[in-house]
């Protein structure tokens, strides 16, 4: 398991330090529609890179934000519990997080609390939103208010990967927020703290050298 985390980090996450490169993760229970949402947003713009051993699909996307061109890597993760050990690499250096639930399955809404708690352990500050998917299955749900995340001020979207409602709007807003977050210098401290926390965590879990090497190599840039 530890070896897995090492391997995944070899995919050089250092690139996410470059100013014009952001990483956005997509989280939530199995079968809530994370992959379908990605596919709907990107149509067939790029062929994704499938890393099934890591329960991960990577999609690369180019977006314009203001007058800048940014490269966005979307990390489409799997909800299955047996991939729990991968989660630290998902969160590592992420600039925004899209949390999805299925309006037809209450348990996926309830589990948001667990996903969110874990996210905040690794990334206390990054922009995050709550996405209610599959509204095409029952439009009545859009008359209800879902209060998860309200207190934290997380934006909320009613979407459907099937008919496309609000999918593009949600992704565009999240890309913008990821870029803003990255440019906001007040988060500098947070970045540094995060790096330290990650090192601490990796030592505790006795993960591979690869990840630690990566972090050491980066620290001069960060500090």
């Amino acid at each position: 398991m530890a070896a897995d985390v090492g391997d995944i980090s070899e995919m050089n996450q250092k690139k996410y330090d470059a100013e014009e490169h952001v990483k956005i993760i997509c989280l939530g229970d199995s079968a809530v529609g994370k992959s379908k949402l990605m596919e709907r947003f990107l149509l067939d713009e790029y062929r994704p890179q499938q890393l099934s051993t890591y329960a991960l699909t990577l999609y690369k996307h180019t977006a314009s934000v203001g007058n800048k061109t940014v490269t966005v890597d979307f990390w489409d993760t799997a909800g299955q519990e047996r991939f729990q050990s991968m989660h630290p690499s998902y969160y590592h250096k992420a600039h925004a997080c899209i949390m999805v639930f299925d309006v037809q399955r209450k348990i996926t809404y309830k589990n948001l609390a667990t996903w969110y708690k874990e996210l905040r352990e690794y990334r206390p500050e990054i922009p995050c939103c709550v996405v209610a998917n599959k509204i095409d299955a029952d439009m009545k749900v859009t008359q209800r208010s879902f209060n998860f995340g309200k207190k934290q001020g997380l934006p909320f979207y009613f979407v459907s990967a099937a008919d496309g409602t609000n999918v593009v709007k949600m992704f565009r807003e999240m890309i913008k927020r990821a870029v803003d977050y990255k440019q906001n210098p007040s988060d500098f401290m947070d970045e540094v703290m995060q790096e330290l926390e990650n090192i601490d965590l990796e030592n505790k879990e006795d993960n591979s050298d690869a990840e630690e090497d990566g972090l050491k190599a980066e620290s001069p840039e960060v500090l």
Partner: protein, 158 residues
């Protein structure tokens, strides 16, 4: 479409997929039995479904049947070959809104997704549809009034 699929099912021996369809020309209901060949209890159901869907002899009849539906029928056949009951197969497709699907293995998760796929395909707007809108936006902020019952028993501070 010359043939409109009405219903489909399976027949265990010999293992076959049964299709009830309407012949558009003659307006009659007909039954087509498609024997499933080269299929064992070790076969890959999704592959088998794809092959059948593209089979030149059957594809016109199967136009209205989605691939995931065909996959499901193959799973029922394979389950039977492995000694599972029909009830077992059918209940494995059922999606219980309270069940935590994160705990399932790949195969069982695929069964649930196969079930969900039906509605997805039905409601799906495709890129090549004439009235497809890539950037479809709907503002629901005005009609969110009711409190969601899913929030009621939660005291977890969210």
């Amino acid at each position: 479409m010359r043939y409109e699929a009405k219903r489909c099912g399976v027949q265990f021996s010999p293992p076959s997929i049964v299709l009830i369809y309407q012949d558009e020309e003659t307006q009659t209901l007909r039954k087509r039995i498609i024997p499933v060949r080269n299929f064992s209890k070790y076969s890959d159901c999704s592959l088998a479904a794809e092959k059948l869907k593209n089979n030149s002899r059957h594809r016109d009849y199967l136009e209205g049947v989605t691939q995931s539906q065909l996959e499901k029928l193959h799973i029922v056949l394979r389950d039977h070959m492995q000694g599972f009951s029909l009830e077992h197969s059918l209940s494995s497709f059922h999606v219980d809104p309270e069940e935590d699907l994160n705990k399932l293995d790949d195969e069982d998760l695929a069964r649930k997704k196969g079930q969900m796929e039906k509605l997805f395909e039905k409601n799906r707007k495709r890129k090549d549809d004439p009235n497809f809108v890539y950037d479809l936006e709907v503002d629901f902020s005005k009609n969110t009034q009711e409190k969601c019952s899913w929030d009621e028993e939660s005291d977890d501070g969210f």
